[in-house]
């Protein structure tokens, strides 16, 4: 079941969101519909980004796919089976890292390995492999409070990858980092993704980031959100940032996605 991080782990799963909607009901403010209806199908091994205006419910949608928040309409299916809650085949990385502060760096990565069925004697070695994969070395005995933002997010990514999910859910994972760290981690993530064949659902508000990383970019409308358009990013892989920025299609894609988003912002 679990394999080394450098070899493809599985053929991947098909993820389908079928008419997923979310209405929040509170006794004080009545009901607010955050998501009208979202239909998305992610192919196995696909890198899919979701962009949309602030408050459009893109993070909420990701939490629904994760199984943490129930949808009020529609359903999420993985290989035709509706999800009923969180599960090991979907790993998540949050913008705020969500590391366990009482665990060391190594302890955080080891944390999920027991549940993933890795024997006790192999857990530490396995965790070190994943720390290696995200280019962390020599900090395994530190606690999260002693780490920079970029290091924290690397640990969080290693922790999530360690349980070998087929689908990786990423909620603006680089949004809290400085520009340089952000660029480095984007490149590292691409490397890892290319080596592991995981399906990635990546929420961001950066158009550049979405184009750089994705096979397709889903643009959501303003709240109550629907899928406004899905844009294919037919740029060659493996991608290098400089080559990408110089590619003639890049500014076209950028302008198009930007315009779709901008439409939405001025409409409201």
């Amino acid at each position: 079941m679990t394999t080394t991080p450098t070899s493809p782990t599985s053929v991947g799963l098909t993820l389908v969101a079928d008419g997923v909607g979310k209405t929040f009901t509170s006794s004080r403010r009545g009901s607010v519909t955050a998501i009208q209806s979202i239909d998305i199908a992610a192919q196995p091994g696909e890198f899919l980004s979701i962009v949309g205006p602030s408050g459009c419910g893109k993070s909420t949608f990701l939490y629904i796919v994760g199984g943490f928040v129930p949808a009020t309409s529609g359903q999420v299916r993985i290989d035709d089976k509706p999800i009923t809650g969180p599960g090991l085949q979907r790993g998540i990385v949050f913008q705020e890292f969500a590391l366990f502060p009482w665990k060391t760096v190594l302890g955080n990565v080891v944390f999920g390995l027991r549940q993933a069925g890795v024997p006790r004697s192999e857990r530490k070695a396995k965790a070190r492999e994943f720390l290696d994969l995200v280019n962390l070395d020599g900090i395994e005995t530190l606690y999260p409070k002693e780490l920079s933002g970029g290091m924290k997010q690397r640990v969080a990514i290693a922790r999530t990858l360690a349980t070998d999910p087929d689908i990786l859910l990423m909620d603006e994972p680089f949004g809290a980092l400085d520009a340089q760290t952000r660029a480095t981690l984007q490149t590292e993530l691409l490397d890892i993704w290319e080596r592991t064949d995981k399906t990635v659902l990546f929420v961001t508000h950066s158009v550049e980031e979405a184009i750089y990383l994705s096979d397709r970019v889903v643009v959501l409308s303003q709240r109550p959100s629907t899928v406004k358009e899905i844009i294919d990013i037919d740029l060659p892989r493996p991608r290098r940032r400089e080559a990408l920025l110089a590619h003639p299609d890049y500014p076209v894609l950028h302008r198009r996605i930007w315009a779709l988003l901008h439409d939405e912002v001025t409409d409201g």
Binding site: P86, F111, K145
Partner: protein, 265 residues
Amino acid sequence: MGDAVAAAPGTGRRDIGAVLWPLAGFALILLVWETAPRLGLVRPTSIPPASAVFGEMAVILRDSDFWQQTASSSGRWVIGFVIAIAIGVPIGIAMGRSRLAYHAIDPLLTVTYPTPKAALILILVLMFGAGNVSRITIIVLGCLIPITVSAYHGASGIEPKLLWSAQAMGLGKVRTLVRVVLPASLPQVLSGLRIGIAISVFALIASELLIRQSGIGAYLFTFYDLGATLKVWATASIIAIIGFLLDSAFVALTRLSFRWLEGEV
């Protein structure tokens, strides 16, 4: 520790100030305490000068009865404090993670929180006699609520994404409770224990002053009965210092045991 680390380079003078000013404060209090009785500003029979009190403390510390009474008080305090933790922490965490437990217990806490527990001492004596049961119960009652409420705040304030992360890694309810809820609540639980220490020591001494069967409070009251002002001051000062040391020991121990904690307990 937090202050020393937070101070930017080149602000070494601030560190010295952080030591000097409190020292100056203490020195001033000692000076007034020493000179006011000697100058006749206060009656030395009410407030003996500091040097006399310190001298008498040395005498008290050499009294074997003092140590015996301190030991019997400590035994009761430990039992009461441990019982309060054993009841308060699980209840507080249950309240923090279950709406049912919260709604069942919160009204009880709201009603009992403001009642002065000292008023219950005599009722407890009427019910259980003047023995250990009454005196331990009052210690438990004194610190149970702050310990419970802090554990509740710790458990209810857990970042949901920590719990989600654990669930995504396949942890079920029980494992999430043990491996995430408990450690994530720990900082608040510890600050509840710290408040609990102060309140339970107060309850201990108060109950012994009232019931006066044995213990350090009774030892203290005997001197008051005899009109031995100096011994009252010396004993009370020792009790105050013990309280301070207990708190410092707790803080030092938590820092040593939980290196991952951020900020003050």
